[in-house]
Structure formats: C-alpha cells, structure tokens
Symmetry: none
Subunit: 206 residues, 4 copies
Amino acid sequence: MKKNKSNRKRIWDAAKKQTIVQAVIRVLTEHGFERITMDRVAAEAGIAKGTLYLYFKDKDELLAAVLEFSLEPLVRKLDELIQSDLPPDRKIEYIAQRYLKYFEENRDFYRILLLERVRRSYHCHVAENIRYKDYLEAVAGIIQEGIAKNLFKPLDAVKVAAMLIESCVALLYHRMFWPGTTPVEEDARMLAQIFFHGMHREVSAA
Amino acid sequence: MKKNKSNRKRIWDAAKKQTIVQAVIRVLTEHGFERITMDRVAAEAGIAKGTLYLYFKDKDELLAAVLEFSLEPLVRKLDELIQSDLPPDRKIEYIAQRYLKYFEENRDFYRILLLERVRRSYHCHVAENIRYKDYLEAVAGIIQEGIAKNLFKPLDAVKVAAMLIESCVALLYHRMFWPGTTPVEEDARMLAQIFFHGMHREVSAA
Amino acid sequence: MKKNKSNRKRIWDAAKKQTIVQAVIRVLTEHGFERITMDRVAAEAGIAKGTLYLYFKDKDELLAAVLEFSLEPLVRKLDELIQSDLPPDRKIEYIAQRYLKYFEENRDFYRILLLERVRRSYHCHVAENIRYKDYLEAVAGIIQEGIAKNLFKPLDAVKVAAMLIESCVALLYHRMFWPGTTPVEEDARMLAQIFFHGMHREVSAA
Amino acid sequence: MKKNKSNRKRIWDAAKKQTIVQAVIRVLTEHGFERITMDRVAAEAGIAKGTLYLYFKDKDELLAAVLEFSLEPLVRKLDELIQSDLPPDRKIEYIAQRYLKYFEENRDFYRILLLERVRRSYHCHVAENIRYKDYLEAVAGIIQEGIAKNLFKPLDAVKVAAMLIESCVALLYHRMFWPGTTPVEEDARMLAQIFFHGMHREVSAA
DNA sequence: CATGAATGAGGATTCATTCAT
DNA sequence: TATGAATGAATCCTCATTCAT
C-alpha cells in the first residue's frame, strides 16, 4: 500500500519535474540563457514560484536537470548504436551522423545548450559532467575496440575520442551558423574519411 | 608639440586600460566569469568604480577589451607561423603545437576564455566574432593551399579547418582537466598524424 | 468564489498601492521632489525596496500614481460643482473657492504638486496630461455655456479658461508664499469680480 | 593700475561666465533639463570641467545664473515699458504683448525655462527669486498707480499683478502647445479687455 | 588660471530565495 | 502540497565635486 503510494508519488514527482524542465527549455529557447529567471520559469510552467523549490533545491539543480533531460533522447539513440555490433569505424560514423541529425532537429535549443555545455564546464569541472564523461568513454571504448582488433593504430583512445567528438561539434557549428544544404550523412562521412584515412593524398600509384 | 602630448596621453591611456584589463583577468581567474562585477574589478585594479567608466563605456566594452587583449599574444604567434613558408602540413602541426602550449601556459585563464569564446558566440553570431573567423579562415587557407598543391585530398577546407581547431580544443580540454605528462609536441604530432594519415592501420603493401 | 478572492486581492492591492503612494507623499513633502528615491520611499512605507516593484513597474509609474492619487479628492469636489446647475459665473467663483481651499488644506504637498504639474508638462506635452486637459475643458465648457446664454461676451473659451485657472494658481502662490489672513472666499470673490466686471472703475452712469 | 587690471579682470570674468551660461542654455534647449551635467556644459563651452568651478561655486549657482541671464533681455524690454509714461492700462497691455512676443521668439528655450521657474520656486522659495519678485512688484506698482488715479477699483495690487502675470503665462502655454495663428497683439488685447472690463456683457442698453 | 583624471556616494532595478498561509 | 508576497543583497551606471599638476 505504502509502496504503491510512494511509487505513485515518485511518478507524479517525475512528471512535475519534467513539466518544469520543459518550461525552462521553452524559456531558454525563446529568451536566451541569461533570461532564465525563476519567475519566468514558474510562469511558463503555470505554477507558483515557490513550487519550483519543492522539486529542485535551487536554480543550479534545476539547470542541471535541464541539461540531463535534454540530452536524454540523444543519449538513448547513441546508446543503441554503441551497443550494436557494428564494426568500430562504422559505429563512429553513425554516431557522428546521429549526433549531427539530432542537433539539426533541435537547432534553436541546441545552439544554447552547446553554450551551456561549455559554460557549465567551468563551474562544474567537465570531469563531473557525467553525461559527457560517459559519452566520451563510450566513444573511447569503441576506439579501443578498434585498436584491439588491429583495425586502428595504437593511439590514446580517450584523446582521439575527444577529438572526434569536438570535430563533430565543429561540423555542428558550421551547420548551424552557415546552414547549407550538405546532408548530414555527407558531413558524417567526411569526418569518418579524415579520421580513418587522413587528409593526405594516397601517394599510392608510386 | 601637441602631437607629442596627445601621443603621450594615448600611451598613458593604453597603459591604464591594460591595468584594468589585467584586473579583470585576475578577477575572472580567481572568481569565475559570473563574478566579474565592476566593483570587484575596480577594487582589484585599485581604482574607483567610476574610473572604470572613464576608460570603458560599459561592462560589455570592458569585457570585449579583455577578450581582445588576452588573445593578442597567441594571435601574434600564430600569425608568424601562418605567414611562414612551411609546407601546409607542417604549418598545421606547428600551429596546433603553439596553440596547446599557449593554453598550457595560461591554464587558469584560458579555461574561462574558451568559455567566453563560445559564450559570446551566442550573443554575437559566431560569424561576427572577427578573431575566430580570422583564425578559421587562416587555417582554411592553409588547407586550401595543401589541396592546391595536391598534398591533400579535395575537401571542404573550412569544415576541415573547423574540425582541426576543435580537435585542438579537445586536446586542450583533455590536458586541462586530466593534466598528464604528455608533452605538448606529442599531442600536436598525434593530431597531425590522424588528420593527415588517419587512424586506420595501413593494411596495404605489407 | 474565485471572483471573491480576486476581488479581495484587488482591494488589498489597492490598499498597498495607497500605502506606498502615501509614503511617497510624505517623502515628497519632507524632503522635496528630487529626494524621492526608491530607497527612501521603501523605508518610509516600511517595506523592502523590491516590494515597490511588485506594485509599480518603475519609478515613473509610481510617480504617476502619486499624481493621480493626490488629485483625486480635488477632482471629485470640482466635478460635483461642474455637474451642478449653478449659473456659469457662480460656478466659476465656487470652483476657484474650492480650488484655493483644497490647496490651503494641503499646503506643503501642493506646493510640490504644482511643481509637478508643470514639470510633467515638459516631459509629456501638456496636451497629454489628461487631468489638466479635462479640467481646462470643463472650465471652458462653463464659459461657453455663459457665452451661449448671452451672459458673457463672445471670447475664446479655452483661452479664458486657461487664464482663469492660472489666475487661480497665482492667488494660490500668493497665499502659499505670503500666507496672510485673507479668507479663501474673499480671494475667490475678487477673482470673479475682476474676470466678470473688470478692474476699471465704472465711470459711467454716475 | 591695479584698479585697471582688476577692472579688466572683472570684465573678462563676466565674459567667461556668459560663455558658460550660454553653453548651459544650449544644453538645456537641446537635451532638456535633466540632462544638464557639468560634463556636458563644459564640453559645450569648450572648457575643462574644473574650470566651471572657478566661475560658479556649484551647479546650483550656475543654474541660478542661467535663469538670471536668460531673463535679461525680457527684463530690459519690460523695464523700458515700465518706466514709460503710458497710462496704467496701456502699460499693462503692452507688457503682456512684449511678454508673449518674447516667449514666441524663444519658444524652445522658454518652454523649459518656465518649467524651471516653477521648479526652482520650490527649492528657493519664490520670494527669493529676485527677478520674479521685481517683476511682480513692478506690475503691482502700475496697478497701484491706476488705483491711485482712480482708474481702477481699489484692489490688492500684488494679487492682481500675480493674476495678470499668470494669465499671461496661461496664454503663453496656450500659444506654445496649441500654436495657432492668433497674433500676439490680439491675445494681449483680450487679456486687457477681460482684466479691465470683465467678461460680462454690458447690460447697458437697459 | 586652467585642466581633466579620479573619486565615490547615490540611484534604479533585478531576482534567487524564504516563509506564513 | 502549493502558493506568491516579501525580501534585500547585488549589480550597473551617473555625475557633482575635488585636487595635483
């Protein structure tokens, strides 16, 4: 009985939190990061300002939840890929593809979220950003696998993973601020090409 | 005569501005971006609050000056390299090296500057951030040169440049948050290796 | 039910606003117009500075409310007179009387309100000051009526109304800065005498 | 010798003061009362800020001088009239005429000066404003003369003078804010008509 | 005499957080 | 659990005045 109730409560709680987080996202998207005030969030969520504090200790906790929440769908998609049994190079290319696509679909919001990623990386040391670390490690794992399989040269997997991710972000920026017509797939392929085969012309025919 | 005086004044002025900018940097480094207040800056600079406004119209202008000022040494160093007549791939490797080294030397400050780079990219569209754009174009130019010389495969030079820069930043982050003993040169070499020859083991001619 | 609550709230709100406005008036009376600061007002009202902003968007709105509020009693009294069916000349004399009396009763405050009247007339074109315009038009209406009834000579009613009002203000000033013992009624009568019969000795039918 | 020098000095001094006062007037006219800052005045006068304080003790003294100075031409013109040997009623009509004309010619500036007149009347008790008092007394003198000559009814000359002046101001306002085509002379005549003969239709022909 | 850099008190406004209901 | 009025510290900016040169 009690279990049930507390369960119900937990669900209710999560629902409320989600409502609030989504309100923050709307405020963020419409007004920009600096304009996120507890007032606006409460108004947007249709609840009282004080209520926010029943669900989140303070503003920082709320913003952390936003970050967490908004990366959720992407993380899930990427997890699928990571778990799959594609060969490492394919995996990486597809991850990049999904990554770019996801951002493409949430352009407005993500422009600011990216910002937030780096922004917060100051306040709370990047290493503490679980999501990022997880992601980084997952990609590093894939690379490590490739190395183990003698597919890749022996490299510092984590560093390469970071480079891959940031290169992806670079393409992202490019797509965002100079939106062109290049399909996501093509950019992902280019990324893969460079990272796997390098920019150098194959001197081959020598 | 008058020229002289106005010249002297201009120099004085620049010195004062520099003093203030350096105070900002100290505040920034010690307290973080959000804690930069005009009061704190004035206190740190050892001048009155009002005096700040004699040298900078408002906070925004002051912060812009900080950005400008603190990138100066790096920009100068990179410019030298860019102007040099090294082959494109060497140029890029050295640029990465310098870049990493510069950050290494100004670790605390730069962590926040990076932040600022992205932060401002929100306010003022990345395309309008002259510094970044200049830098991006310079690197793209080098790549284009490499392509023209048949050294590199035909690629979108700007995108690749962005990827290079961000990969550099990735290494930077890595160095910053997981400071290890890898020398800067080695990281730069790895970056070059991957971008020029790829991660794939050469199965080839074995 | 809900109506009730919102009604109650509105009443409460109005009461709070009134409290604040009265605090402003006290500050105004005691320290003068230039010394009205949000700090002082809050202190005088016994509330926090921030609270002011719950009831008034900004200082301007607060000052506008003060003006509105403090003219209220006078406006009501004058309206009664204006609506009455006294003959035009009587009406005008009584209006002047009431006017002078009202000021007499709120001497300290009114000295500054007069000021404010002119002061605002700079910021917001006199023609846009509803109160003044209304009042001016009401008096002009009375005069027009007198003209229509062949009681007054054909004159520009608005101009004469303005003259009447300002003459009233002149007497006001006189009473304020050289306070004497002349009763209000006498001054009002003099005003009426002059405006209706002129200063000239009737040489005539003697 | 010394006398000479000190004389020269005094002239020089007056000239400087005038320069400054005129700068204030320009600032006042162009930017409005609230925007008169010592900085702006100094800049407009083409001198250093500190220099202002060599000629005027503080801002208040400077503003007082502005008031004084700007009424000068009007005062001179009115003095001529006052000294003339016209009959009292003519004098008054002409004074009104000159008054209105003067304002008509300096519309922009005067709109603000009027404001200032009342504005300052709070800070420094109207009775202390020499100019106004002088003017008031002069007009009162004329009226007294009229009374003595049995031309006017026995009235409180000062009060009537104040009413006359303010009525004049009323017409002024009217002209300023609803600028029409009525010539100054006509308004002055109307003023005289009313004050001397009253608004009442002469029942005469009875 | 003249300068103008420096001052710092003072003002308006915002907003995260608390707490009585 | 929910509310939302109240708080007041914190922030940016202005400007009259002083004083060393």
